[in-house]
Symmetry: C2
Subunit: 204 residues, 2 copies
DNA sequence: ATTTGTTTTAAACGCTTGTTTAAAACAAAT
DNA sequence: ATTTGTTTTAAACAAGCGTTTAAAACAAAT
C-alpha cells in the first residue's frame, strides 16, 4: 500500500510540472487543482496565493540546482579541473531538467526581482573564488589575461543556451529527445576545449 | 504638421513595444488600445484576433533581423572574415533591440510552431554554405575538424545568451544600460577570438 | 461522547479577458 | 444632395481568472 501523499506536496509537485511546461501565466489555479486532484481552494489554503506558490517553487527549483554548482566553483581544484567539473555537472543538472533554463529565463524576463530577492543570482552565479583564481593564473602567465565576468558569461552561455533553443535544434536536425541528450553530452568536451584553448597564453 | 499615422500602424507599433516588454500573455488588448489611443475593437477589425496580430509582429520582428544575417553567412568571404562579420552584425542587431532574444525564446518556449511555420528557423539559422565551408577548411587542414552544428550553436550561444540574462548581468555588476552595451561591445572581439582559437588545428 | 482544531468542500464573488454587435461618423463618388 | 463603402465608436457578451466564504468532514484529545 502506497502512503497517501500530503496535499501540500501534491500541489507543489503538480504546479512545478505545469509551471515548467506552460509558464506562470498559462497555468491556471483550476488546472493545478484538477491535475493534482484536489479542491481549488486548497491552493490558497496552503500557499495563500498563486504568486506565493510560484515563489516557493522557484526557490525549490533553483536552490536544489545551485548548491552543488557553487561548491565546485569554490572548491580547491586547479583551474582546468574546476572548469571541466563545472561544465559537466551543470550539463548533467540541465539534462535532468531540460525545461529549467527556459523557466529561469522567463522569470528573469518578467520578474527579475524574484531572482535577485533570493540571492539566487549569487548562487547560480557566484564567482569570487573563481575570479581570483583566474587573475592569479594570469599573473603567473599560465593563462592569458581575461575579464573574469566575460569568461564566466561565456561558459554559462555555452552550457545553458542550447537548452533554451532545444526545440529549434531538434527541429532543424530532426532530433529525438534522445538525440538531443547525445548532442548535449558531446558538448561537455567541446565547451571544455573551447574554453581551455581560449585561455592558453599567446604562443609567440 | 505631422501626417496622421494610419490606425493599423499605430496598433502594430504599440503592440510590438508591449509584446517585447511584457510578453504575449501579460499584454491585454485593452492595454494596446489605450496606449495606441484607439478603440478596443479596432484591433479585431484590422487583425481579426490578438493571436494573428502577434503572428504579424513576430514576422516583422524576425524577418527584419534575419535577412542581413543570412546574407553574411552565405557571402563569398573567407572563414575568419565571415565569422567576424557575422558576430559583429548580429550583436549590432541585438544592441538595437535588446529585448528581441527574450521575445524569441518566449515564443520558442510556448509556441515553437510559430517559428518553424515561418521558416524563421531557416533564416536565423541557415548554415548550409557555412557548414560546407567549415568542412572544406578542415579537409585542407587549415582548421580542426568540427561538427558544424555544434560550432554554430556555440557562436549563437555566445552572441545571444548574454542578452537573455541582461538583467542578471546588470544586477551583479551594477551596470547601467550603457555599461551593458559596452560589455557587449567588448564581446565582439572576445567571441571572435574564442572561436578562432578553438578552430586552430592542433599544434604538435 | 464531546469538544477542539485542522482539512476539505461547493458555491459564489468581483474582476478582467478577447471578441462581437450594431449603430454612428466619416470620406468619396454619383 | 445622396448613395456607397470604409472606419470608428460604445456597449455588451460569454468565459475564465484568482480568491473568499461558510459549511461540512475529519481526526485527535478529553
Amino acid at each position: 500500500m502506497i502512503a497517501k501523499q500530503p496535499t501540500k506536496d501534491k500541489i507543489i509537485h503538480t504546479a512545478t510540472r505545469l509551471f515548467l511546461e506552460k509558464g506562470y501565466d498559462r497555468t491556471s489555479v483550476r488546472d493545478i487543482a484538477t491535475k493534482a486532484k484536489i479542491n481549488v481552494s486548497l491552493m490558497n489554503y496552503y500557499f495563500r496565493s498563486k504568486e506565493m506558490l510560484f515563489e516557493t517553487i522557484i526557490d525549490l527549483l533553483i536552490g536544489k540546482a545551485s548548491i552543488s554548482l557553487k561548491e565546485i566553483l569554490n572548491a580547491p581544484l586547479d583551474l582546468e579541473q574546476k572548469i571541466e567539473k563545472y561544465i559537466s555537472r551543470y550539463i548533467d543538472i540541465l539534462i535532468e531538467n531540460p525545461l529549467l533554463i527556459s523557466f529561469i529565463l522567463a522569470v528573469l524576463s518578467h520578474n527579475p526581482e524574484k531572482l535577485t530577492r533570493l540571492k539566487v543570482a549569487d548562487h547560480l552565479y557566484n564567482t569570487e573564488v573563481f575570479s581570483n583564481q583566474l587573475m592569479e593564473e594570469a599573473r603567473k602567465g599560465t593563462i592569458r589575461e581575461v575579464n573574469p565576468e566575460q569568461l564566466y558569461v561565456n561558459i554559462l552561455s555555452l552550457i545553458a543556451f542550447p537548452f533554451a533553443i532545444k526545440d529549434m535544434i531538434n527541429y532543424r536536425n530532426n532530433y529525438t529527445n534522445q538525440d538531443f541528450v547525445q548532442f548535449i553530452q558531446h558538448r561537455k568536451r567541446i565547451i571544455y576545449e573551447m574554453i581551455i584553448s581560449y585561455l592558453k597564453p599567446n604562443q609567440n
